[in-house]
């Protein structure tokens, strides 16, 4: 009760005072009454009462003092005093708060991303026991392998598979483009989710490979597309022109087993042959399914891996052709195994490290700021000590100031970060894929941020402690400024400043490397010309085309596109290079008989193209001929290969023409008819890969990209091309973009890296500037008098500047060199994300040096001006 009353008193100080007055008044009155009753005159009586009472002011003071000794009121007074002090030096307060805002904000943002993508497992019950099963370092498995694993293992409660796919959904009016998981029947049971409405499908719904006409909607899709209509369960919709009934709706926050993919619905994986692209569930060599399993409670990941690999060995023996070298590993789920997860985890952890360094730099800055301030206030502090204030009391005051700044800065930082994160959560970086970075900051993030803020506040507040305790008040009062003999050994502050400059240089180096890499990749040779080209992405199955109608429609699309004014040529390809889809396949030397994977001569990227593709894509034909309409279904199998393929298999480009190679366990024998230039196929950072192109007629697919080369700006022809394709079939869904827009997905990682490093670099340099500025201006003001004397004695400008700024610039130089070296080491990591990221680039080196020089110049400009404009005569007269 006492505590609450005390806290209550804080806010009722005036009431307490009036209470005391009333009590005092009553006392005097009672004594006076008694005195009168005792026979005194009223005047005497009152006088006697007052004398006996003693000094009322002292009484009140001591009553209030009783409160203060109890602590809380003292703290509150400290806080108010601190705020008042800070308001009196807005420059200091603002610098400190902004510094902390920047540092806490950056850390909260990066920590949220780290938390969302790396630390936190999928938001599912018992998620720690969920593992993704990778095969030879790749998250894709074949359906027959999956069935065998699921049946034979004893380590997992169950294993599910899924594919991310797209389809056309028709709910009555026009079809729309939707994204889905094709998931095994036990998918929801393995993940441990319960439906929001209706029911999920289960293993018992599957009967072999027969299609099951059920779908489960995601909550968001149900809300937006069906307006949260509960009667939707049981309704029939059309998926790629096939009838499906809606089985249920998934719970609100459930987006499936991938962190960055937001699906519209789930469909049984056994329906893949019916509605999806060419994924074949019967072929053991066709690996396109991701596998996720829930470990039994008492089984460790290592035990499970051991068992899976025992099964893999058995499968290898039974199916030497398809399962050669099969090996499984368990990895953290959520980011397509280690394929996306590896680089993302490395990059985000790196960012976290950098953010931590920024916080360190900010603390260093704050520490310097606080010590400078303590030094400036040395006289005031000395006076207070001399007047009897304890050092503990002064320290408490300074710590309170630090905490007030920490709270302001921390709050501002958290507010800024939550705005940024909200933006990031709704951001859709890729135009043709529903990627979502779910980074809603949670309580944990805020707690960490507040703790960081308080901790840095306390640390900084403690920085000047030695200064305060080492102050001899009489010295300070006598001489004016604190005479602290500067030791020539580098102090803690110098080290902190060096660290800070180094951090800035590291960030600058890495962001320059990233930007340069990005620039280089924009101008590198892709093996095609993305300028002046339009892309039309179609999946004819979505509009119900099957069998022969597919090829006929594709031919019509090509012919129509070619007649659009402004379009010079048009061609089709099965997967657009540097898009999201690709297929790699093992090929064998002509005459081979052993078709195990280990006997393959290469594993090139495989494409199907129509005549006219190379011309439309701007891919140069080096030798031989292009694919023509004569390379049809019944004509001999032919292929165009790239330069690397030709050199690897046949020694040179010219020798390749007319040679043969085998594919699909020798069932297909290709004659090489042409060789084209090398290109980038899967990622920008890949090594040069072999690739081969088959005629679309000989390797048909319903999913293609039409490339239309235009004479001028492709935007001018986009509308006409869109209308022409729409005119062919108004039920056909397609996306039309320029090739440059489509490249965004390939450049996304590099761009994200460049932007985040750039932002951190900017923050880092802001902090470095304030740090150096603080130190330089402090050193100038501390040595004002000395410099005045020097000038009076005839020192020239250079000498003055050297003595004023030499220390700061020396630290800047040491820090920059250290940072540059560290940055060079750090950017090796970037090479995985950014094309040709190399720190040994003269532009990067010169750029970093320039930036650091600029930082130094900006930071020391004002102090240097001050030092140069010292008037010795005035200075010597005044008391500094």
């Amino acid at each position: 009760m006492g505590l609450f009353r005390r806290i209550g008193n804080l806010f009722h100080r005036s009431r307490l005072a009036s209470d005391m007055d009333a009590e005092l008044e009553a006392h005097i009155a009672l004594r006076t009454e008694d005195n009168i009753a005792g026979g005194m005159t009223p005047r005497e009586a009152r006088r006697d009462a007052l004398v006996r009472f003693g000094n009322p002011a002292v009484m009140k003071e001591r009553t209030a003092g009783a409160d203060m000794a109890l602590g809380i009121d003292g703290l509150w007074r400290d806080v108010r005093y601190a705020v008042r002090q800070l308001r009196r030096s807005p420059g200091f307060a603002l610098t400190a708060i902004v510094t902390l805002t920047v540092a806490i904000g950056a850390n909260a943002v990066v920590f949220s991303i780290l938390n969302a993508l790396v630390l936190k497992p999928l938001d599912l019950p018992g998620a720690r026991r969920l593992y993704m099963i990778e095969q030879r370092g790749f998250p894709m498995n074949s359906y027959p392998d999956y069935l065998d694993l699921r049946q034979r293992n004893h380590s997992f409660e169950d294993i599910a598979v899924y594919i991310i796919g797209e389809a056309a959904m028709n709910t009555g009016s026009n079809p729309s483009h939707v994204w889905m998981y094709q998931a095994s029947g036990n998918y929801f049971d393995v993940l441990g989710v319960q439906p929001y409405l209706g029911r999920f499908f289960h293993s018992s719904d599957e009967h072999g490979l027969d299609a099951v006409p059920y779908i489960v909607l995601s909550y968001d899709y149900w809300r937006t597309r069906f307006h949260s209509d509960a009667a939707v369960v049981g309704r029939t919709v059309e998926l790629n022109r096939h009838s499906y009934s809606i089985l249920g709706v998934a719970p609100p926050k459930f987006h499936g087993s991938e962190l960055m993919f937001v699906p519209d619905f789930w469909v049984p994986v056994v329906d893949t042959p019916l509605i999806a692209m060419d994924d074949d569930l019967k072929s053991r060599g066709d690996r396109s399914l991701e596998m996720i399993g829930r470990l039994k409670p008492q089984v460790t990941a290592a035990q499970a891996t051991g068992e899976l690999n025992a099964i893999a060995a058995a499968l290898q023996k039974t199916y030497p052709k398809d399962d050669d070298g099969l090996q499984f590993a368990l990895v953290q789920p959520g980011l397509m195994g280690n394929m996306l997860g590896g680089p993302i985890r490395a990059f985000v952890s790196g960012l976290m490290l950098l953010a931590g360094l920024i916080l360190l730099a900010a603390c260093a800055n704050l520490g310097s700021l606080f010590s400078a301030r303590a030094a400036d206030r040395a006289r005031e502090i000395a006076m207070r000590v001399a007047l009897g204030s304890t050092r503990a009391r002064i320290l408490r005051q300074i710590l309170t100031e630090a905490l007030v700044i920490a709270l302001f800065g921390g709050t501002a930082g958290i507010a800024a970060s939550s705005v940024l994160l909200r933006g990031l959560s709704v951001w859709q970086p890729m135009p043709n894929f529903p990627i979502r970075v779910q980074v809603n900051p949670d309580v944990g993030t805020y707690t960490v941020a507040v703790l960081l803020a308080l901790m840095s506040g306390l640390l900084c507040g403690l920085a000047p402690i030695r200064q305060i305790f080492g102050t001899a008040p009489w010295e300070v009062v006598k001489t004016g400024a604190a005479v602290t003999r500067r030791k020539r050994l580098p102090g803690l502050r110098d080290v902190l400043l060096i660290v800070q400059v180094a951090v800035c240089a590291v960030l600058m180096t890495s962001s320059l490397v990233a930007v340069r890499g990005l620039e280089r990749s924009m101008h590198s040779n892709f093996g095609f010309q993305p300028d002046r080209a339009l892309l039309v992405d179609t999946e004819l199955r979505m509009a119900g085309y099957e069998g022969d109608r597919v090829a006929a429609m594709q031919r019509r699309m090509l012919d129509t596109a070619a007649t659009v004014p402004g379009v010079q040529s048009a061609g089709l390809i099965s997967n657009i290079p540097l898009g999201l889809g690709f297929s790699e396949t093992a090929i064998f030397a002509d005459g081979a008989t052993d078709f195990r994977a280990s006997n393959a001569v290469a594993e090139p990227v495989q494409y199907s193209v129509s005549p006219g593709y190379f011309q439309s894509a701007g891919t140069t034909l080096l030798a031989g001929r292009d694919i023509t309409w004569h390379d049809g279904n019944n004509a001999p199998a032919v292929a165009v290969v790239n330069r690397t393929f030709a050199q690897k298999l046949f020694g040179s480009v010219d020798k390749a023409i007319g040679k043969h190679f085998l594919h699909d366990s020798g069932k297909q024998r290709f004659e090489v008819v042409g060789v084209v230039e090398d290109g980038k196929y899967i990622t920008l950072t890949e090594e040069t890969k072999p690739a081969f192109f088959q005629p679309l007629a000989q390797s048909p697919t319903s999913s293609t990209w039409l490339v239309a080369r235009t004479a001028g700006d492709p935007q001018n022809n986009a509308a006409a091309l869109r209308a022409a394709i729409h005119g062919l079939d108004d039920g056909l869904l397609f996306t039309l973009t320029t090739w440059h827009e489509s490249l965004n997905s390939a450049l996304f990682a590099a761009r994200a890296a460049a932007v985040s490093l750039g932002v951190l670099g900017l923050l880092g340099s802001v902090l470095a500037i304030t740090g150096i500025f603080g130190m330089a201006s402090y050193s100038v003001s501390k040595r004002f008098k000395e410099m005045g004397i020097r000038i009076a004695l005839g020192a020239d400008r250079i000498q003055v500047l050297r003595s004023a700024l030499g220390g700061a610039l020396r630290l800047l130089a040491i820090g920059s060199v250290a940072g540059l070296l560290l940055g060079m080491a750090a950017t090796r990591v970037l090479a995985f994300i950014v094309y040709q990221a190399t720190p040994l680039d003269p532009v990067v080196l010169a750029g970093t040096v320039m930036v650091m020089l600029l930082v130094g110049l900006v930071a020391t400009w004002a102090p240097a001006q001050r030092a140069l404009h010292i008037h010795p005569s005035r200075l010597l007269r005044e008391d500094w």
């Binding site: 009760m1 006492g2 009353r5 005390r6 008193n9 209470d19 005391m20 009333a22 009590e23 005092l24 009553a26 006392h27 009155a29 009672l30 004594r31 009454e33 008694d34 006996r52 009472f53 003693g54 000094n55 009322p56 002292v58 009484m59 001591r62 009553t63 003092g65 009783a66 409160d67 109890l70």
Partner: protein
Amino acid sequence: MARNDLQGSLDLLVLKTLAQRGKLHGYGVVQHIQIASDELLQVEEGSIYPALHRMEQSGWIGSEWAMTETNRKAKYYRLTVAGRKQLKEAEESFELLVKGVRAMLRYA
């Protein structure tokens, strides 16, 4: 050794007064101390209030405003349970002090 300063003694006197007399205002406490001690203990009357306030904040005594017999508004104090415990401790420690001082005086 127990805490035996002047303040401690004043606390003891106030607590004892409230224990003997029940509800009492500040002036009453002062009066009681003077009368009960045969006018031997003279406190500066004002100094009772910081003590009362401190004891109230510590939860040893409670207070309320009420009317005196002469129809004057005054703040009345009474002992709380915690105060009763405190009184017992203060009495014991005072006995110790007295014993100690006596022993000291008798030592020759």
